[in-house]
Symmetry: C2
Subunit: 397 residues, 2 copies
């Protein structure tokens, strides 16, 4: 695990919150940090240069999407994803598990988090001990993704932080299935570790990837005894980092409870990632459980719908609302992003009215800057041990 390091800098006295630094060969990540989604090797609608100017520390890309298009070998030929997409700072890839199962069960992330299954568009064909058989959403071809194959693909892609292959259990299954699935995920995790430790067997064609660090994933759904069992499994395996995966329940309170319970059982040896959470209110709450990194598509997805992140409990405004037609003020007062420095709500409202793609860019810049500013505010508050005050100020600012 050369080139990688995790250290805690400061800890809150009242909460489990902490600041820290994850060191990677492509630079360090100050935690708590937000990881922005470049699902298919691109941040939706904005350039990596813009993301960099917004103080972005780390992005993630999805093994599932990249293995299907353009294929991991093409990324390896570029010398890895940092070169491919021109992002020279840390990158994380997931294992492909989340998408196979979330798309596979007929819906997307919401389904994993709390919604019931629908039967349409199921692309997951079969789960066997060997791995998961699914149908490509691009051309209908069948693919078997195994732990070994996931690690090999992630090696080709060449992100800094990579994840073990797991089944992401949805909410609608019962405890029995959650347990069976968790135990299979542990076996898959073990096979992922073995592949990772012998990854020299899988050297990419053009020797792309530098060193990588592996995250384990804690399963167990909403069942505390299963979460215990999965924490025990993961702690035994000396992962560089740990991610809390699987369903987190059907309500925000249940999510807080599952995350709090799980993270309370973790030690300080690893950074902890929470998959798929990006609501600022959730982040204020969950950093208090000791979560170090979050990822979510929300900042850029919201932007494409005209939703602007703001410092209120409501959390956003809709720029398409006609009240902004001649509002000359910036998206947010006291925001220092380049969009707020240079453009009015009226102008961006106009861009959305006439379908100019620049509108997506300008709000994406604001939303990304907003999330990075949120995380920086949180880090300062932890360092000063005044989280409660800082959170109150955030909303009254």
């Amino acid at each position: 695990m050369n080139n990688f390091n995790w250290k805690i800098l400061n800890k809150s006295l009242k909460f489990k919150a902490r600041t820290g630094i994850i060191e990677t060969p492509n630079g360090q990540i100050k935690t708590p940090a937000f990881i922005f989604c470049a699902t298919k090797g691109a941040l939706k609608s904005i350039s990596v240069e813009e993301a960099n100017r917004c103080d972005t520390q780390i992005i993630l890309s999805n093994t599932y999407h990249l293995m299907l298009q353009p294929g991991s070998k093409i990324i390896a030929e570029h010398g890895g994803i940092h070169n491919f997409m021109n992002w020279k700072k840390p990158i994380l890839t997931d294992s492909g598990g989340f998408q196979i199962f979330s798309l596979g069960h007929g819906s997307v992330a919401d389904e994993i988090k709390r919604k019931n299954s629908s039967n349409k568009n199921k692309s997951l064909l079969k789960i066997v001990e060997e791995g998961a058989l699914f149908r490509s959403y691009i051309d209908g071809s069948n693919h078997l993704l195994t732990p070994e194959k996931s690690i090999e693909i992630q090696r080709d892609i060449g992100a800094d932080l990579i994840l073990v292959f797991d089944e992401c259990t949805p909410f609608h299954v019962d405890k029995k299935y959650t347990e069976i699935s968790m135990q299979r995920s542990h076996r898959w995790s073990k096979r992922s570790v073995n592949s990772f430790n012998h990854k020299s067997c899988f050297k990419p064609a053009h020797g792309s990837a530098g060193p990588q660090a592996l995250y384990g994933i804690i399963q167990g759904g909403i069942y505390k005894d299963l979460r215990d069992e999965s924490v025990d499994y993961n702690l035994k395996n000396n992962f560089f980092g740990l991610a809390i995966g699987g369903t987190l329940g059907s309500s925000k309170e249940e999510m807080y409870d599952v995350v709090n319970y799980t993270s309370n059982r973790l030690n300080e040896d690893s950074p902890v990632h929470l998959l798929g959470i990006g609501d600022p209110q959730d982040i204020w709450r969950l950093i208090k459980c000791g979560i170090d990194t979050f990822d979510c598509v929300s900042p850029t997805r919201l932007a494409r719908h005209g939703a602007v992140l703001i410092k209120t409990k409501l959390g956003k405004l809709n720029i398409k609302n006609s009240i902004f037609k001649d509002d000359l003020s910036p998206l947010a007062e006291k925001c220092f992003c380049s969009t707020c420095n240079n453009y009015s709500k009226s102008y961006i409202h106009h861009l959305f009215k006439c379908n100019e793609l620049l509108g997506f860019q300008l709000i994406s810049i604001h939303n990304i800057y907003f999330m990075n500013h949120l995380m920086s505010t949180i880090r300062t508050a932890i360092d000063n041990d005044n989280l409660v005050k800082a959170e109150a100020e955030w909303y009254s600012d």
Copy 2:
């Protein structure tokens, strides 16, 4: 005409080509120059910051689109279009005439240039001495645009260079109609000049616009005697600049002939703009007739279709072609744009395959840089009086 100046720097001995400088309150334009279209107050898919980094000197926006959405008063409230869209260099607006008539006759620019009329989607309702009555493409409401109204709107918008209101005659009409239309356009031009000279009557609500300079438009279609008459009218009226408008015929040779004939009758007192031409081969040919500025939507429109401008007679490549799937080379060798510096054809091919908007941006950056590099190469060639050699080198580069 304070704050505006036109001077010729160097002239080709063999051709009518010249380099010059147009000075405006928002900076100078080295000519020959290309003007990029920000039709609705935004460069399609890229930010003005990117356009600036690509050495862009001047952009244009369309009165017709802006008067309908967001309306010129909202732009005036921002202190004019430079503030509205955050472009602090020169801007030109057309008078609205071109769009009313090109959209009005049931098609767009191609129709004006060479194609026959189709009857569908006609939005032009009536041309009367007072002005042109048309139906909004946004909400179906009726609008009467007159010369006075066009100048008032352009005053509110506040571009540096503005145009008289004219009827843009299509190709399919006969000589008689072209003559009637031209003479009406001259009367409209005269009314535009009167409005422009008394524009203090039309002070925008928040006093947005600084000084502006007015361009006349030379009509006459493909008929040399009519072009003569229109040149005479325009030269008598002391416009700051002159634009060659109306139909330019049904073939490239006819276009060269019309432009050459018309520009040969012009003196050196004004910069000459050619409306709607953006093909590099046409530009190499037409600067030799003394054209100083060109505008066209092509660089960004082509980009959105995956077409990359390159230095060949063919002029472009299609990045969506599967031969680029694993082509690690940049869009163009020896190109110094940020796209070519940082990304491979393979990556941009991938972006188009998976519908990532970033693909539009990256090719737009290249195409805009390419056009600015073309114009800069042409200016150097005129200064060195070696146009023929420079053009041959351009294609063999």
